[in-house]
Amino acid sequence: METKSTSSFTNLVDQSVCPGDVVLDLSKMINQTIKLGGGLRQDCDAISVMKAGRLRFSKPHKYWVENSQKRYVPYAEDSVLGIVVDSRSDNFLVDIKGPTLAFLPVLAFEGGTRRNIPRFEIGTLIYVRVIKANPGMNPELSCTDASGKAAEFGALKDGYMFECTTGQSRMLLSSPTCPVLDALGKKLSFEIAVGLNGRVWVDAASPHTTIVVANAIMNSETLSGAQQRIMVEKLLQRIQ
């Protein structure tokens, strides 16, 4: 019985699942704590899937469904690229490609006080951190990390911003370094910011380099690691 239970637990991990699939049976798990990530929900004793994707498991007992989508859903502690769409007396309204606009308080900057409120034009691209994302409320952002330092957050000047899916953003941010970024970094100098909401910002000395990097990243979504390196090499040969 226990062997069968163990095999049934690992049966669906790393497989593609559809909405409605039951992936866990809580009545068979005694004194165990599991953590449910995105794409899963509890229905009495059964854990079922809400979004199509690939079921993942990481020790100890973390389950989530890994997928890629265009619409971003805000979660706390995500780093995202936002566009300022309005400024009020207390908040900047920032578009982070979520269901609603997000609030960026004017004091949520390093050393922010009432005397030195930063002045953002409408349309400014900023790298921010999501600190609150509750359903039914507008998400709240911050331009500092958890310890209050500006770290890598703030406005991004110049450069070029394009959009991709959230799965590709996670791939670009994964460690070890994504093959396309690794291959590009060997030949070109550029600066890049990747938001988990599917926005990527690239800046380089010349627009030519910026366009090459952006096109390479956009083309790499459906390629494997080796294919990405080959694609980058071909692209670099063509421009030299």
Binding site: S8, F9, N11, L12, V17, C18, P19, G20, D21, V22, V23, L24, D25, R41, C44, A46, S48, M50, K51, A52, G53, N67, Q69, K70, R71, P99, T100, L101, P135, G136, T165
Partner: protein, 207 residues
């Protein structure tokens, strides 16, 4: 009892399906799907969830708005009815408590109509919702059955065959799920949903 079909298919044979679903169909939508059952073809796009709800909607739940676009002309009474049926079916499969006070827009464009238009649209909309990663309870599968004068049931009729039939029934079922639960306990818990019919619409004389 045998009935000859002009397209040489058996009575319970479905027409060939073609389904494509990816970001490359429609770039601006958050999810899109193209569903074809031989000649009949439907293109579905999903936008959202977006903030806000209509005036007469419940802001505590996510609402779904369906727009049915016929191939030519304006929508008439039949298309209005299809739109309403599609909206009710999609509302029943979506988990609407996760994104309150939002609206998800589903646009269904008819590319070609050769019979079984409503089941084709339901299948396309369901695949588009999956592509947009809208939280769903389960998937749905739609099928059209037609009944001849002699009482024979034919699945997936063409438009020419529809004109000779006595009655039709459009059925929508939940999909078969992969489960780690034993078979018996699943039936105990959700027998009505797992094995039942979600939507049933009949036309003509049905005994």
């Amino acid at each position: 009892m045998e009935t000859d079909r002009p397209d040489s298919q058996t009575p319970n044979q479905l027409r060939p399906l073609a389904c494509s679903c990816s970001c490359s169909i429609l770039h601006r939508s958050h999810g899109s799907a193209s569903w074809a059952q031989r000649e009949t073809k439907v293109l579905a796009a999903v936008y959202g969830p977006k903030a806000g709800t209509k005036k007469n909607e419940n802001p505590k739940k996510a609402s779904i708005k369906v727009i049915w676009k016929p191939k030519t002309g304006q929508i008439g009474k039949v298309e209005k009815e299809y739109e309403m049926i599609l909206k009710r079916t999609l509302e029943s499969i979506c988990i609407r408590t996760i994104y309150p006070n939002t609206t998800t827009l589903v646009i269904v464009q008819i590319v070609h109509d050769d019979g079984v238009l409503l089941p084709c649209a339901i299948n396309a909309a369901c695949v588009a919702l999956v592509d947009a990663r809208i939280p769903l309870k389960h998937l749905v599968v739609a099928i059209c059955c037609s009944i001849t004068d002699s009482g024979c049931i034919i699945l997936d009729p063409t438009k020419d065959q529809e004109e000779k039939m006595k009655a039709f029934i459009n059925l929508v079922f939940p999909n078969t799920i992969v489960s780690v639960l034993p078979e018996g306990s699943l039936q105990e818990g959700s027998e009505t949903m797992a094995h039942g019919i979600m939507t049933s619409i009949t036309q003509g004389a049905m005994s």
